[in-house]
């Protein structure tokens, strides 16, 4: 048949009916979500039991109270979703839960090696922070009923991000840890990395700003080597943000965060405008800035030297890198098994090097599973971007998802010497409250955005 079917034929044709396959079925989605959450709990609990049996030969109860609190919080989030975001993506919470849970298992295993117990145990504190983080995520979901609400405050969130970035530089509350000045400390017990929250505010600001200004930024300029570069007068925002990233690098001495922010900005700029020229300019500027910094600042240069020659000073500056590599090698394909490796020998094995610790005990197979979980999570975020109806929502979900993926790349790429080692932490897994809160807020926002995608039409037409 070569003739096109008439309209009356096409509306009754099997073709269209076939494509209207996915009927909205919120109840099914939520039931799937609950089942997967329980599965994630089971994986986590099994991990803790394996550590107990391998190392201590008995099942401990140290993590029971905080563990139950975390599980309770996840269930609270699940029921909040049932109430206010019935059509949200059902995989987001289970994926984030299993990553958080595996992180706790590995942190707990290292606690056991360090013989830390009670409040000294990083795993207990991690679970408490997780509880807080998930409850914060639930609250965000309750408060923000429509993501367009965020669009209204584009410039306010931009200002907020700026304030958060400057906070650690203020005398009195700013504090330096492991060479990077990215912490604030209020009193003796409360310390926080405001840059983690700034990541989210920046995504919102970029999305709002780029949607408002994409026309101007898409204006074509000169064409060089087949790539259309933007006009000189439109370079302002790129230069401003490049300078901002560079000041993070120089003043806060944090290469990872600098790279993350700039990568986030650049990718969102590209998605909004479709101009490859921006990418070329941006990457060029960042490389230039990075290489210049490595010539001017010892700490950046050290990072570069360790990256290129980790065995030049294996007991000094290269120690962490070398121990991480030894750990991964010790794990091999199958891993040593939980409790049978020596992840505790690597510095920062519970935070920056959590992926190396996992790679040692769960092996290549375990690390692949974790990476696939991350990839699935990022993929869910990108899906929202593809399916979204409004540009702000699309761009925001892409920004959030990309920031997660880029962060995983920077962290594991640093450990495996794909790129220089930076101080970033693996989302959801690494020990550290600020990072957990910010990443669970991302989950809340993605839940909200995915809900908006699905609840518009009563029938979903598959592309």
């Amino acid at each position: 048949m070569t003739s096109t079917p008439s309209f009356s034929e096409s509306i009754t044709s099997e073709g269209v009916l076939d494509r209207i396959t996915a009927l909205r079925a919120p109840k099914k989605l939520r039931a799937l979500e609950l089942a997967l959450i329980i599965f994630a709990f089971a994986i986590t609990a099994a991990g803790v039991v394996i550590v107990d049996l391998t190392v201590l030969d008995q099942i401990g109860t140290a993590l029971v109270p905080s563990g139950l609190a975390f599980m309770g919080a996840v269930l609270v989030l699940h029921f909040v979703v049932r109430a206010v975001a019935t059509d949200a993506d059902p995989l987001l919470i289970p994926l984030a839960t299993v990553l958080s849970g595996l992180g706790v298992v590995q942190i707990y295993r290292i606690d056991v090696a360090y013989k830390s117990t009670g409040w000294q145990a990083t795993s207990v504190r991690q679970l408490v922070w997780l509880t807080i983080a998930v409850l914060v995520a639930s609250a965000i979901l309750l408060i923000i009923r429509n993501h367009m609400y965020l669009f209204k405050y584009t410039y306010l969130t931009g200002l907020g991000a700026l304030v958060l970035l400057i906070l650690p530089m203020l005398p009195g509350i700013g504090r330096e840890k492991h060479g990077a000045r990215v912490w604030i400390e209020i009193g003796e017990y409360i310390s926080f990395q405001p840059g983690e929250i700034a990541k989210i505010l920046l995504s919102i600001f970029f999305a709002g700003y780029l949607i408002g200004n994409r026309e101007a930024l898409s204006m074509a300029g000169k064409k060089i080597l087949g790539i259309v570069f933007p006009r000189g007068r439109d370079l302002g925002p790129l230069l401003v943000f490049w300078l901002a990233s560079m000041s993070v690098l120089i003043f806060q001495r944090d290469l990872g965060t600098s790279l993350l922010y700039f990568g986030l900005f650049l990718s969102m700029l590209y998605v909004a405008t479709g101009r490859t020229g921006w990418l070329v300019l941006g990457i060029g500027l960042f490389l230039f800035g990075g290489i210049a910094a490595s010539q001017m600042f010892d700490y950046v240069n050290n990072r570069f030297q360790n990256w290129l020659h980790p065995f030049a000073d294996p007991l000094g500056t290269g120690y962490q890198m070398v121990q991480g590599l030894f750990g991964l090698a010790n794990g091999g394909i199958f891993g040593t098994g939980l409790g049978s490796g020596f992840p505790q020998d690597t510095p920062l094995s519970q935070s920056d090097y959590i992926l190396s610790s996992l790679g040692e005990e769960l092996g290549l197979i375990g690390l692949f599973m974790v990476l696939l979980t991350y990839l699935l999570l990022v993929g869910r975020g990108l899906r929202i971007g593809f399916a979204g109806q409004d540009n702000f929502g699309k761009l925001l979900s892409v920004g959030l998802a990309f920031s997660l993926g880029l962060q995983v790349f920077i962290v594991l790429g640093g450990i495996t010497r794909v790129i220089p080692l930076t101080g970033l932490t693996a989302p959801f897994m690494a020990a550290g409250g600020s990072s957990l809160v910010s990443n669970w807020i991302i989950i809340a926002l993605l839940l909200r955005l995915s809900n908006a995608v699905r609840n518009r039409p009563k029938l979903v037409i598959r592309a």
Partner: protein, 493 residues
């Protein structure tokens, strides 16, 4: 916007592919290399978790793992203490591994590549991991005789079976007790290790293969003679003027014979007599009549300058090409820049004993899995045909006369009923800060029985035998007599 989204999604996917590739590179491709890195504490600690295989000599454990009540489950035990220490090395948490414990670590701890399948099966069956046994080529009687004979001296003994390169004895004294470094008490190990390391007698150094290289002195004349005979220009009866001293070309410096006497009563002296009586003057004169590179090349043919793993790494001996005739003359009697290990000199004798064929010395006889499967067994390996069988025969005759003539330098090595071949050496070590000569390094190397050799040996003693001999003990006595005892231990079996 969706077009850009697609490209961005692909970019993220690509970034993850890069991560998958990077992780695979480290955990699979480079894993073995990283595990073998000497800085890798994890390898040592893993080894502590398994029932490490024993090290055997003729079926008897000389190193074994005994059950212990602590977290490590096992404790390494060396029943013979210092006797086998140069071969076995030690196995400690904090100071790493040495010797066979290090060189055969993968086999002993069951983590070698050949054991991959077994290891994987263990993950499934939950069976406790166990390492393989490593049997050495060492002969208990020979090793123990050599160790006893060397008491009181700083030096080393190496005995090789010249026919296949099996190392029958490897002794270095003073030795150390590996038990002191292999307990499960870290502080004790660190303390003991520090004491051993600071001991001026350097007990941790394996002088047989890895100490400071020694001047070979007159034992090197075997190589000089081999080079001369192989060149075709000289024969055992080639004659040289019997002078009191040899003036070095373009110099006023002179080389004299030991004890500043002539080489025998005759007017002329043959090459053979020069070797038998160990005279410097005719040998130096002969060396100046050959090209400078001929003798170093012969040394290389016997294994000098070669990286050798038995599987413990043997420091390569050195024989650089002399700059001029004067240097060639001094080098020809094993001085100047010629330096060697006892293992290398034993290989020289073994090569001569085996018709010129130098067999690769080896210390591992076999590797036996816990299920008694032989995973690796000894295979003799030819290192090099250093000289022709005829040259080897001529050299053997000279060495036999060195032992069996009344005035021969190595006469103390004589064993009743057996023809022994031997050569002594006394190496000068320069002057001390007061301008007095430093004590000599004294040598014996040889083999027996000359007609059908079963053992080749090298003995080195530092500082002229040390304080008990007033630092002036001679090669004719101390090392030669020790060499005789060790060869007897082999022949008596």
């Amino acid at each position: 916007m969706n077009k850009q989204l697609k490209i961005l999604s692909r970019t993220i996917f690509f970034m993850f592919i890069v991560l998958f590739a990077a992780v695979t590179t480290i955990q699979v491709v480079q894993a073995d290399e990283l595990r073998a890195n000497p800085l890798n504490q994890r390898t040592t600690m893993n080894a502590f978790r398994v029932e490490r295989g024993p090290i055997l000599a003729q079926g008897t454990p000389i190193t074994q793992s005994l059950p212990s009540d602590d977290e490590f489950l096992f404790q390494r035990d060396y029943p013979y203490g210092p006797v086998y220490a140069p071969a076995t090395g030690f196995f400690s948490h904090y100071q790493g591994l040495t010797g066979v414990e290090s060189a055969m670590n993968n086999e002993l701890s069951g983590i070698g590549n050949t054991q991959f399948i077994t290891r994987f099966m263990r993950i499934i069956t939950g069976e406790k991991p166990q390492g393989s046994a490593v049997e050495l080529t060492l002969n208990k009687a020979v090793q123990e005789t050599a160790y006893e004979a060397m008491q009181g001296y700083e030096g080393a003994v190496v005995a090789i079976d010249p026919r296949d390169g099996k190392i029958l004895a490897m002794v270095s004294t003073p030795s150390f007790d590996p038990n002191a470094l292999s307990s499960n008490d870290d502080l004790e190990i660190i303390e003991n290790h520090r004491n051993l390391e600071q001991d001026p007698a350097k007990p941790l150094t394996n002088r047989a293969i890895a100490g400071d290289l020694y001047h070979p002195g007159s034992t090197y004349k075997l190589i000089t003679a081999a080079a001369a005979l192989e060149s075709g220009k000289f024969k055992p009866d080639s004659e040289f003027e019997n002078e009191l001293a040899f003036t070095l070309p373009n110099s006023t410096a002179k080389i004299e014979n030991f004890a500043q006497i002539k080489c025998g009563p005759d007017e002329k002296v043959t090459l053979e007599t020069a070797i038998v009586l160990s005279c410097n003057v005719p040998i130096a004169e002969m060396a100046t009549q050959m090209d400078e590179n001929v003798i170093p090349n012969m040394a290389k043919a016997f294994g000098f300058e070669k990286d050798l793993n038995i599987p413990l790494p043997v420091t390569p001996s050195v024989a650089p090409i002399p700059m001029d005739k004067a240097e060639a003359a001094i080098s020809s009697i094993g001085q100047l820049d010629v330096r060697t290990t006892p293992m290398q000199m034993a290989m020289v004798s073994a090569g001569i004993a085996n018709g010129g064929a130098v067999m690769k010395p080896q210390l591992i006889n076999q590797v036996i899995a816990p299920n008694l499967n032989v995973e690796k067994s000894f295979e003799a390996e030819l290192l090099n045909q250093a000289v022709s069988a005829e040259t080897a025969k001529q050299l053997t005759d000279m060495m036999v006369k060195g032992v069996n003539t009344a005035e021969g330098a190595a006469a103390m090595a004589k064993i009743d009923g057996v023809t022994v071949a031997g050569k002594t050496g006394t190496a000068e070590n320069g002057l001390d800060s007061q301008g007095e000569p430093l004590p000599y390094t004294i040598w014996f190397t040889g083999f027996a029985p000359a007609e059908n050799p079963t053992v080749a040996i090298a003995v080195v003693i530092e500082d002229g035998g040390g304080a008990t001999h007033d630092f002036v003990g001679t090669s004719f006595e101390i090392p030669t007599y020790i060499g005789k005892q060790v060869m007897e231990a082999v022949l008596n079996q």
